[in-house]
């Protein structure tokens, strides 16, 4: 096992059901814990809510991306057809905006889509192939399958190993383990 760098990362409690997790998380948050995180095998909105995570910035990123795509393509088309090499195509005006709509439209979607996906990953700080939590065998076995975890992190000013352990055990988790760095 890798030597601890800065002591422990946090305390990890494993629960059997989402309900238990949400109860514990809510209590922890009410008790003033701020540096804490919940882990579940599928989206668990309630958990996020109770630890005070309400809205994210993915939509904004997407919007910006989309607008960029729109402007980029439409101005490119206009520049090409009217300035770069204006040609008489079938007697149509050089600035044939109706025809330009389609590619611009497609690029709007392209850019928006890419920003949504990559924005989400970036905001989630992914990829992070290594994470202290993976040191906890229980986490490795259950987090993405059928178990629910609450982690009180050591960086929280309130953090004290023994207190925290006691606090968590108050919710009858399957287990509480220290997670090293």
């Amino acid at each position: 096992m890798a030597l601890p760098r800065e002591g422990i990362y946090g305390l990890l409690a494993e629960f059997e059901t989402p309900t238990e997790l949400v109860i514990a998380a809510k209590a922890a948050h009410d008790a003033g814990w701020r540096r804490l995180d919940c882990y579940s095998p599928y989206p668990l909105e309630e958990a996020a809510e109770v630890i005070g995570f309400h809205r994210n910035r993915v939509p904004l990123v997407t919007l910006i991306g989309g607008l960029m795509g729109l402007c980029a393509m439409f101005s490119l088309e206009t520049w090409i057809s009217t300035l770069a090499y204006p040609l008489n195509i079938a007697g149509r005006p050089t600035y044939s905006w109706p025809a330009f709509i389609v590619p611009a439209y497609e690029w709007t979607i392209l850019f928006a889509g890419l920003s949504a996906a990559f924005g989400m990953l970036a905001l989630n700080g992914l990829p992070s192939l290594y994470h202290p939590l993976f040191n906890a065998p229980s986490f490795r076995n259950g987090a993405t399958v059928d178990k629910f975890f609450l982690c009180l992190e050591a960086t929280d000013p309130k953090f004290d190993a023994s207190e925290a352990k006691a606090f968590l055990e108050g919710f009858h988790p399957n287990s509480v383990v220290e997670v090293e760095y």
């Binding site: 040609l87 008489n88 195509i89 079938a90 007697g91 149509r92």
Partner: protein
């Protein structure tokens, strides 16, 4: 040219051959031995058995198997593709060498073409030419604009002779029994023979030649005859003018249509057959009377009646056409003659009412226009027709007005068939020891009953002088390559009797020689060159000036060369001539099937069989390319239990030939038209194995028509290459069209859609604007537009006008376009699936009952639409509009999506589906027009209005700071057209001819309702029917029996 070539390197090449010296040309050509390409008859692509097998087993594979293109090497294609990729501009080109001259020729400016006057010697009269030469390589053959006879126009054959010159299959070495020999060796043996023969006056020497067109050759022979009184000189062509000889002896008849208000053609195809004497002038004069330049008021037109046994454009252009079986025509003529007061016996015959009515009307019309009419007789008819026709003309007082006579333009006028028979008898009787055959191919085309091959074998030594080691040349002892007329000196007379000097434009590509040299060898100055011989012939004439005093020969000679004809060489003309009175034979019984033999409209008697352009050229009326067929009307086909593409065995007086069946609308019943010139076995890579050889059933008795044929269906299918949608879709009625149910859907559609617009003279006068009125005649409406119209009002605005009234569908324009624009020949199998590359095509629509149709011919090329549908859909902008209104196709930008072709309503775009252009054959590279890119595989192409000529003119004009003059730019098609139906010019120039024509109320745009705004407009046709003759409506719907 055909794409079938040996594998080689596939480097990109644009025909830019600047600075290539003749030495190099020869070097390039070395090792290309004609024989190498020969194939045994079995593996010929076209033989029925092979075709049948292919089609029966794997139809879709047919093209894979037979398509010449697909036989090419694998790597080469890669090479070519990569080369093209190289031209994409993103990879580097290989090093290109420059070979400058060592000593530059004085008069040569590389990049500037030179023009030389010469003439194409042809049996029915030579065609005066002005040939374009680039770096001393002839690259375009056109009529001589200054010559009074053809005024710069030409015809398919003449245009084709260019490719004939560069034909890679030409014989290249003198051979003796297959081994290469030197020409000098031959001359030695020949001289020896002559010396030996001196004693007996050359009794055992016989020369068989094609019709002699050269006065010089005639003179040479005359002198030789003096030395060898007993030697024989025989002329024979399978298509000859024996009728004229029989009727007029040593005279020729000349017609003038300028003053003819009424024209009656008796089986005379003078509008499409370039083989008809005087074709160029007759067509011009005919069309001049149909231009209606003066507008509707007091408009006058000539009127054409055609009585014919085949279906030709002359017949279909006629106001009133009567289809008679070949043997009925003499009798009809006799009846007509009688009606016009010519005393000649009339064979009794049961004419139908319609025929009698027709006869009456024609007779009346001719009488009414006595002296202002002309009766023209066909030369492939019974002599009586010509005899009677001339007598009718005399009776009508046309002599000296529309009909006149000259001495025969061929210097040695003879009845060829008789002479040939004589020669064959001599051969059988062993009289002939040496037989020399000059530019002729009797083994292939002599009448079958003479059995010429065996007769020929009786001669001890046989010599063949020919451009190809053809059927004859491949079995004679000596085969000597003959020089092309662009390679050697000679002379000839055109239809109007004026002589031209045939001057060469290039040194012989191979070790070839001309007939002059062989005959000259019989004389004392045995090695006198043709050049000197020709000069000698004209010495007397040119050495004295017009007023008879002596003049500087050299100066006059140069003048003659420069002008293209020899002043004062015209033959004396006479108003009358003694006409042999020949009586018309009685027609055959109506149920006797008659087979008539005609020169092929594209390859004549087979001498152009290896000219790819002409092979691929769709024949007028039938649109059939690459083959001939047993052409018959549908009734006969159905009665005989046949279907199109079936192979039928035609048996007539004991001889049989297998021929594929094709329906030709308008043929008389029980009549089969067989074109000569096909079924060649040793024509070369292109001509061999196309069609069937009609000469096999053509005997000396039945040169024109053989009666009493019987038809037997044999198994096998022959895939025809008919270049346009086949007109046999009878369901026009089903769709709600006109007629009896025997109409062509295509034609009915063409009329409904206003593609063809026509009126009679009366209707036109009553309503001059008919062409743009009515539901089916939509007109361009410029104000109807979603976006502002593009402004073309400044600078040049190119446009074209095509006069449907003048166009006779003779195809000259198409071949001219081939030569000018380096168009590829794709081969029969590709044509069959519709991939022919002609930029210009002539659409033929058959109106009314297909058994007695009326036809409309419409030259169709890129219309250069101002709102071009093709441009809008090209994703890479490879086809765009220029400020001057051209719809340009930028080949090197084209990626080949073919979307433009789909969106072109006129379907005038052509796509290189495979590598059609020939990049290997050296001789063909010399022929290409250096100003036009040779298109490679995967590229779209189309008519460019000859943009290279436009650019040339623009540069010249710009350098001289002047606007381009009207008529300064002449497109290739316009240049060739004998009827001057095509006019090109600047629409912004108020005074230009094209502008005037566009303003003419008869001008209309095809598919105007599509609002494509074509720059090419058509002048609606106006016909001048005889009110007395209501259109003959007969029910010919086929009935099985």
């Amino acid at each position: 040219m055909t794409p079938k070539t040996e594998a080689g390197t596939g480097a990109m090449e644009t025909g830019k051959e600047q600075g290539l010296t003749l030495a190099e040309v020869r070097r390039n050509l070395q090792g290309v031995k004609g024989k190498k390409y020969w194939r045994s008859i079995d593996e010929l692509a076209g033989t029925p058995e092979f075709e049948a097998a292919v089609l029966r087993e794997f139809p879709d594979a047919a093209q894979e198997w037979v398509d010449p293109v697909s036989r090419r090497g694998f790597l080469k294609l890669m090479g070519a593709s990569m080369a093209m990729a190289g031209l994409a501009g993103c990879t580097k080109q290989p090093d290109e060498p420059i070979y400058p001259y060592v000593k530059a020729p004085e008069d040569l400016i590389l990049g500037k073409p030179m023009y030389f006057a010469t003439a194409y010697p042809f049996a029915s009269g030579s065609v005066p030419l002005l040939v374009k030469s680039d770096a001393f390589r002839p690259i375009k053959v056109d009529g001589n604009p200054d010559h009074p006879y053809n005024r710069g126009t030409s015809d398919p054959y003449t245009q084709g002779t260019l490719l004939d010159l560069y034909d890679p299959d030409r014989a290249q070495e003198t051979t003796y029994r297959g081994d290469n020999r030197e020409w000098t060796e031959f001359m030695m043996t020949w001289r020896e023979k002559l010396i030996a023969a001196k004693a007996n006056g050359g009794a055992d020497i016989a020369i068989l030649s094609t019709t002699v067109a050269s006065p010089t050759l005639a003179r040479q022979w005359k002198e030789a005859q003096a030395l060898y009184p007993k030697a024989k000189f025989v002329q024979y062509d399978p298509v000859n003018r024996d009728t004229v000889r029989t009727v007029l002896g040593t005279k020729d008849v000349q017609y003038s249509l300028t003053g003819a208000d009424v024209i009656l053609s008796l089986d005379a195809d003078f509008l499409s057959g370039s083989s008809f004497p005087g074709f160029h002038r007759l067509t011009r004069e005919y069309s001049e009377r149909r231009k209606l330049a003066s507008g509707p008021e007091g408009a006058t037109m000539n009127r054409l009646y055609t009585v014919e046994s085949s279906t030709t454009t002359t017949g279909l252009k006629a106001e009133h056409r009567l289809a008679l079986r070949p043997s009925e025509i003499p009798a009809f003529t006799a009846a007509l003659a009688a009606a016009l007061g010519v005393s000649a016996p009339v064979p009794s015959y049961g004419w139908t009412d319609a025929q009698t009515q027709y006869l009456k009307a024609v007779a009346a019309d001719l009488k009414a226009n006595a002296g202002k009419c002309v009766v023209i007789a066909g030369e492939q008819q019974d002599p009586s027709v010509l005899s009677l026709a001339l007598r009718i003309n005399e009776a009508l007082g046309n002599y000296g007005k529309t009909v006149s006579f000259t001495d025969a333009i061929n210097p040695m006028p003879t009845v060829q068939l008789a002479e040939l028979k004589g020669l064959v008898n001599d051969l059988w009787s062993g009289k002939v020891d040496w037989l020399l055959m000059l530019n002729t191919n009797p083994v292939y085309d002599a009448p079958a009953d003479l059995n010429f091959v065996d007769a020929m074998r009786r001669a001890k030594t046989t010599v063949h002088l020919g451009k190809h080691a053809d059927e004859t040349g491949s079995i004679t002892d000596w085969q000597i390559p003959a020089s092309h007329y662009l390679e050697s000196w000679s002379d000839a007379r055109s239809y109007d009797g004026v002589a031209s000097v045939v001057q060469p434009l290039i040194d012989p590509l191979y070790k070839s020689h001309s007939a002059h040299e062989i005959v000259q060898a019989m004389l004392d100055e045995s090695t006198k060159t043709p050049y000197d011989a020709v000069r000698e012939t004209w010495q007397p004439l040119l050495a004295k000036s017009t007023d008879g005093k002596t003049a500087d020969f050299e100066m006059n000679w140069r003048k003659a060369l420069h002008a293209g004809w020899i002043d004062g060489s015209a033959l004396p003309t006479a108003a009358t001539a003694t006409v042999a009175a020949i009586n018309a034979p009685a027609p055959n019984s109506k149920d006797a099937i008659e087979v008539q033999f005609r020169p092929d409209p594209t390859i004549y008697d087979g001498r152009f069989a290896n000219v790819g352009w002409l092979q691929e050229l769709p024949k007028p009326v039938s649109s059939l390319s690459w083959d001939n067929a047993a052409l018959m009307n549908e009734a006969l086909m159905v009665r005989s239990g046949l279907a199109e593409q079936d192979i039928v065995e035609i048996t007539v007086n004991g001889r049989a030939v297998k021929a594929p069946v094709l329906v030709l609308p308008g043929l008389p019943d029980n009549t089969i038209t067989a074109y000569l010139g096909y079924g060649r076995e040793a024509a070369g890579r292109v001509g061999s194995g196309t069609g069937y050889n009609a000469a096999l059933i053509r005997t000396s008795e039945t040169m024109a028509v053989a009666a009493g044929a019987s038809l037997k269906k044999t198994d096998g299918i022959w895939g025809f290459a008919v270049t346009k949608s086949h007109y046999q879709d009878h369901r026009s009625k089903f769709f709600g069209g006109e007629g009896t149910g025997n109409n062509s859907l295509e034609a009915d559609e063409a009329l409904t859609r206003g593609i063809i617009r026509e009126a009679t003279l009366g209707e036109y006068k009553a309503n001059p604007g008919f062409a743009n009125e009515g539901e089916t005649h939509p007109k361009v409406e410029r104000e109807i537009t979603l976006f502002p119209n593009w402004d073309y009002s400044t600078g040049n605005a190119w446009g074209m006008s095509i006069d449907l009234n003048s166009c006779t569908g003779c195809n000259a324009c198409i071949v001219s376009c081939y030569a000018e624009n380096n168009i590829a020949v794709v081969g029969k199998q590709e044509v069959r699936i519709g991939r022919n590359m002609q930029w210009l095509r002539i659409d033929a629509y058959f109106e009314g009952d297909l058994s007695a149709p009326k036809a409309h011919f419409q030259p169709m090329a890129c219309q250069h639409c101002e709102n071009a549908p093709c441009e809008q859909v090209c994703p890479v902008g490879a086809t765009v509009h220029t400020p001057e209104g051209l719809n340009t196709m930028v080949y090197n930008r084209c990626v080949g999506t073919r979307y433009c072709s789909n969106n072109c309503p006129y379907k005038v775009r052509r796509f290189n589906f495979l590598l059609f252009s020939d990049y290997e054959t050296e001789s063909l590279k010399l022929m290409r027009n250096p100003d036009v890119t040779v298109r490679s595989r995967g590229v779209m192409e189309k008519c460019s209005y000859c943009v290279q000529r436009i650019q040339e003119a623009k540069i010249t004009a710009d350098k001289e700071n002047r606007p381009i003059r009207d008529g300064e730019i002449v497109t290739a098609c316009e240049q060739a057209c004998p009827a001057s139906a095509i006019t090109f010019g600047n629409l912004n120039d108020k005074g230009s001819r094209v502008r005037k024509l566009h303003d003419n109320e008869r001008s209309y745009a095809v598919l105007a309702d599509q609002n494509t705004r074509p720059r090419t407009l058509y002048l609606a046709a106006v016909t001048n029917p005889n009110p007395a003759l209501e259109p003959v409506v007969e029910e010919h719907a086929p009935t099985a029996g």
